[in-house]
C-alpha cells in the first residue's frame, strides 16, 4: 500500500517501495492560479529534505517547490514542459513533479497524513 504524506508547504509525496512521487496539493494549485511553467530538477540530482527542488510559475509569480524528503531524483514529469496546466487540472495525479528514491524513510514519520493536512487547511480558514 502506498503511503501519502503532506508538508506544511503544500507538497504531497506518495511512497511505495522506497520510491516517492512528489507534487503540489489541490489547495496549492488553487492558491497559485493558472500555472504556465514548471522548472524541474535534473534527473540524478541529490536533494535533502527542504531543499528547493523545482519552481512553479503561475501567471502572477514564481514559487519554489521543496523536496519533501532526502534522496535522489530519478525521474521528472516531462509532460509538464508542454502541459504545465496539468498542475491545475490534476494536481494529485497527472500534474506530479518528480520521483525521488528516498534515502531515509524515517523522514516520513515527521510529515502530516491526509487527515492532519486537512486539519491544517481548515485552520488556515
Amino acid at each position: 500500500m502506498p503511503v501519502i504524506r503532506f508538508t506544511q508547504e503544500h507538497e504531497w509525496i506518495r511512497v511505495e517501495d522506497g520510491l516517492g512521487t512528489v507534487g503540489i496539493t489541490d489547495y496549492a494549485q488553487q492558491q497559485l492560479g493558472d500555472v504556465v511553467f514548471v522548472e524541474l530538477p535534473a534527473v540524478g540530482m541529490a536533494v535533502a529534505k527542504g531543499d528547493p527542488a523545482a519552481v512553479v510559475e503561475s501567471v502572477k509569480a514564481a514559487s519554489e517547490v521543496y523536496a519533501p524528503v532526502s534522496g535522489e531524483v530519478i525521474a521528472v514529469n516531462e509532460g509538464l514542459a508542454d502541459g504545465p496546466e496539468l498542475v491545475n487540472a490534476e494536481p494529485l495525479d497527472g500534474g506530479w513533479f518528480m520521483k525521488i528514491r528516498l534515502s531515509d524513510e524515517s523522514e516520513l514519520a515527521e510529515m502530516m497524513d491526509e487527515e492532519a493536512y486537512q486539519a491544517m487547511l481548515r485552520s488556515l480558514g
Partner: protein, 370 residues
Amino acid sequence: MSSEDAAAATRTPLYDLHVALGGRMVPFAGYALPVHYPLGILAEHLQARSKAVLFDVSHMGQVRIDGDAGAALETLVVADVTGLPAGKLKYTLLTNEAGGIIDDLMLTPSGTHVSLVVNASRKAVDIAHLQRHLPGHEVRLLDDLALLALQGPAAAAVLARFAPAVSLMMFMSSEILRIGDVRCTISRSGYTGEDGFEISCPAQEAPELARMLLAEPEVAPAGLGARDTLRLEAGLCLWGNDIDETTTPVEAALGWTIGKRRRQQGGFPGDETVLRQLFAGAERRRVGIRLEGRAPARAGTPIQNADGKPIGTVTSGGYAPSLAAPVAMGYVSIASAAPGTPVSLLVRGKNLAGEVVPLPFVPHRYVKHG
C-alpha cells in the same frame, strides 16, 4: 488576504460585489481588490480579448482642477493641453526637474474644469504637487466617485444597450451620459489595448451599475491579474515598474506624448533634458522582449547582450496569455534597443534566449471612429 491586510485596506464601493462574485481579495495600493475571480487570470484575460470584461478601477484617483487650468497645467505636464478640445482625452506625464516621470495620467478638459485620472499609488503625491504648483486653482480628489472599466471588442455593443450614444463616441473622447437614471462620465479609453469604456459614477450607484453590466452575456468580471497581463501585452507602462521619477519620457519610449508645440517650446519640468534626448537620443530605452521557451522572466531580471555584457533590467515580465508565451519589457542600452537584437535574460542562474521586438506585443484594437 490576511485579516490585518484586510483591515488596513480601503474598500471600494464594489467590495461586497467582489466578495459575492468569489473574488480573491488582495491589498493593492492601499485598497482591497480582487486579483482574480473563480474564472482565473487566463480566462479573464482571454475574455477581454474575445468579448468583454468589467474591472473595478475605483482605486484610481479621479481629480478635478477647477477653472481654465490648461495653460497652468502645461507647466507641469508634457501634453499640449491648451490645444486639446473639451471632451477629448490625452495620456500624459507629470515630470520633475530632472525629466523623470512623477506619474502618468489621463487628462480631459471640459469648459469649466480639467479632469485627471491618476494612479492609486500616486494620488497623494500628485495632488500635493498640483496644489503647490497651481495656486490659483482648486485641486480636488473626487473620492465620492467610483470608476468601472468595461473592456473588450464587445464593450461598445454592450454599453450601447444602456447608453446608445456611446456607439458614436471616438476613442479617447468623453461624454456625460445617463445609464438608466445614473449620470455618468463615460470615456472611450482603457488599459488593455482593446476598445472599451471607463465609466465614472457616484459611488452609491456603482454596485447596481456593475451588476447590470455583468448580467450581459458577453461580460465577465476581471481582476488585477488580468489587468496586468492585458496591459503588458499592449506594451503599456505601469508606474513604479516601467516608469518612475528616474526614467524620462524619451527613455520610456513615451516621446510621442510630447505635443508638437511642446517639443518646440518646452515649458514643462525637465524640458531641457527631455528635449535634448528627443533630438539626440537617450542612453537607454524601454523595449519589448520575446523569449524562447516557456519560462517567464519577472521584473528585476538582468538583461545581457549577445556577448554576455549587462545591458539592462526587466521592469515588467510574465506570461502573455494571448501569445501563450513569455514576454518582458525593460530598459536596455541604446546600442541594443533595435528590434531583432538578440538578448539573454538571467533567470535563476540560467540564460534565457530572447530578442528585442517592437511594442505592443499584441496589436491595439482601438476604435478610431464611432
